[in-house]
């Protein structure tokens, strides 16, 4: 934490997750849910973690924030938030430290809010009791700040809505309130777990706009977990694709369309319905995501992979750097195959 006072040339990373593993303890067994997740995030950066349910993306983020119950999960590796490894802290230290640097927004805003409390008071509480507390804070000051925050997250008629209960607000409004609470304590990184999956298309776009604005204005870094590669590619700077608990490809968002080479990523691109096209159906990925308790041998994706060869069944590919800022876990990237085809 003392790093911040030092003069720095390149902005220090806010999040450094290193070789994070998560096992679920179940009936005397340990099932690997996340297998060696690593990523780094600097201020004002936007990272998107893409994967299907069970890919380990949500669990990975919860583990990185030290939120998993140690009775149910075993976590190894390190997760440095602003220079401090939260996994090395005691539970008590973690409960004090993590909220001061990071906030998490969940998919269902209805469940994150207290249904019996006015939303304005819920935001103000962050200043009065939460880690946004400063000496000399009074109720009136906290309420004034909460109101300003509601305006900052573009809640229309904020004065009126301040006194509303969560059930009087629409889903999009509730998610704005949740985001307001999340950024109240001025965290340096905002983790959003499927922030718009339960919202309508127009609301989804507006909420993603809001997250982008917050990033531009406050320099907060954002990690967005989503199953929607198109959303990730259009809203983030860097995209990490997870499959079966592992990162299978990581690359800059603007290169997803042209450079992605892991067959899973390219298959995901083809699985998105093309609304501008002529109505031909998307190309599905056959089969199902792997069961973490019963992972396939070799590359986890090989049973569903169109390009799988013998070595994919027997050898386990490592994540390797193929180009600057582009990592890949595959023996036979799509690009190589295309080159082979071309040279023939």
């Amino acid at each position: 934490m003392s790093d911040q006072s030092q003069p720095i040339v390149k902005p220090q990373p806010i999040v450094e997750v290193e070789d994070l593993w998560v096992w679920l303890r179940k009936r005397g067994r340990e099932i690997p849910l996340v297998r060696g997740l690593s990523y780094t995030l600097r201020p004002a950066e936007a990272l998107s973690i893409v994967g299907e349910s069970g890919a380990g993306k949500s669990i990975g983020v919860r583990a990185a924030l030290g939120l998993l119950d140690p009775r149910l999960f075993r976590v190894t590796g390190s997760s440095k938030l602003v220079g401090t490894d939260v996994l090395a802290l005691t539970a008590k230290e973690r409960a004090r430290y993590v909220p001061s640097v990071a906030a998490l927004v969940f998919q269902d805003p209805g469940r994150s809010l207290n249904p019996t409390m006015r939303v304005g008071d819920q935001i103000a509480e962050a200043f009065l009791k939460g880690s946004g507390y400063e000496p000399g804070m009074t109720r009136a000051k906290a309420e004034a700040r909460a109101l300003q925050l509601m305006k900052d997250v573009r809640i229309a008629a904020a004065e009126e809505r301040f006194k509303a209960y969560p059930n009087q607000l629409s889903g999009g409004m509730k998610q704005r309130v949740v985001i307001a609470i999340a950024v109240a304590c001025k965290p340096q990184v905002l983790f959003c777990d499927e922030p718009t999956s339960s919202l309508d298309v127009t609301t989804q776009a507006a909420i993603m706009d809001l997250i982008g604005e917050l990033r531009d204005q406050t320099g907060i870094a954002t990690v967005t977990i989503t199953h929607d590669l198109a959303l990730a590619a259009s809203r983030a700077r860097k995209v990490i694709v997870m499959y079966g608990g592992q990162v299978v490809e990581a690359l800059p968002a603007r290169l997803v369309a042209t450079e992605s080479a892991m067959p899973y990523t390219t298959a995901l691109i083809e699985a998105v319905p093309d609304i501008d096209g002529n109505g031909t159906p998307p190309t599905p990925i056959e089969g199902m995501p792997p069961d973490p308790a019963n992972l396939p041998s070799g590359c986890s994706f090989h049973p569903r992979c169109r390009f799988a060869q013998d070595d994919c069944l027997t050898n386990t590919p490592e994540l390797r750097v193929v180009a600057p800022a582009h990592e890949l876990r595959c023996f036979h990237p799509v690009k190589d195959l295309e080159l082979q085809e071309a040279s023939r």
């Binding site: 349910s53 409004m173 298309v201 198109a230 319905p273 609304i275 109505g279 031909t280 190309t283 995501p289």
Partner: protein, 349 residues
Amino acid sequence: MSLPTNTQIAPGRQDSVPVVLEVDDVVQTFQVASSHPFRKATVSAVAGVSLTVERGEIVAVVGETGSGKSTLARAILGAEPAKKGRIVLHRRGGATKKNGQAKEEGGRGIQMVFQDPYAALDPRWSVLRSVAEPLRTAGMTSSSERRRRVAEILNLVGLSAARFADRSPRELSGGQAQRVAIARALVSNPDLVLLDEPVTALDVSVQAQIITLLYTLKGRLGLTAILIAHDLAVVRTLADRTAIMYLGRLCELAPTDDVFHRPLHPYTAALLTAIPPKIGEPARERIHLKGEQPSPLNPPSGCRFRTRCPIAQDKCAAEVPEWREIEPGHHVACHFPLVDSVAVAVAER
């Protein structure tokens, strides 16, 4: 509370007329508790919706939360009969079914596929029993005949009967469960299938599997269906025609290609631009909607979309826009449809 207005039996149509479903000026309201202690408030969930579905056609009804699309679907199914208006199903063989009467002879004209496949299958029933339920109801008493039929239909949706028919729903993945639900809906050869957000609850890769399955079924069986969705992207490949619904009313109804390439209603245009761009393409020029969707307890006067419309005028508050056919097959309810330069700008994006 008014009863369904029409109780007469519609004359049976001849088979040459390909219309399967007629929805005519359907109104659905609900009474809910209001802030006034002794008065109930009325939610205007569906306010005069008309559309037809022809045999072999998939018509999509797209709308966001609170648009009334699910209420409309339930009214068509007969789960909650409409308060006003006519819903007529013209069955093969000339029989008609009105306003969702379920109990008349051979009442299985309409089947539904639900959003959550696990909720749509009884957790204590095997796949065989669930899929065979409509057959039993239809009077197929021979158990071996039912087994044969279930095996055929499971094959049709891409599942092997030997592997899946004796499983219970919790032994199925989401995609497999939705395939079973589709099999159950098709097994009795219904005249119309209601697909209520059939892929919303599924993973992306599985979504594409189900969309492709429905696309194949459409080609092979000439599936007649209404597809309810909140997302235009899903509708693109499946629907022949698409209706856009907002706050209980239809905004626009046109062949799907026209809806995507030449939207006439500002709301349709806004929905289109809100979809994340195709991977690798620049962000769309967005049409931003003002504020929030109003409450269906107190819908705006005139055009219900006017409070959020970027091009609303005084006329929009005063008059309810007429449902007009601007081009052949392209209906819109808007005083100022995007026929001119606006439409061009939107289409070019």
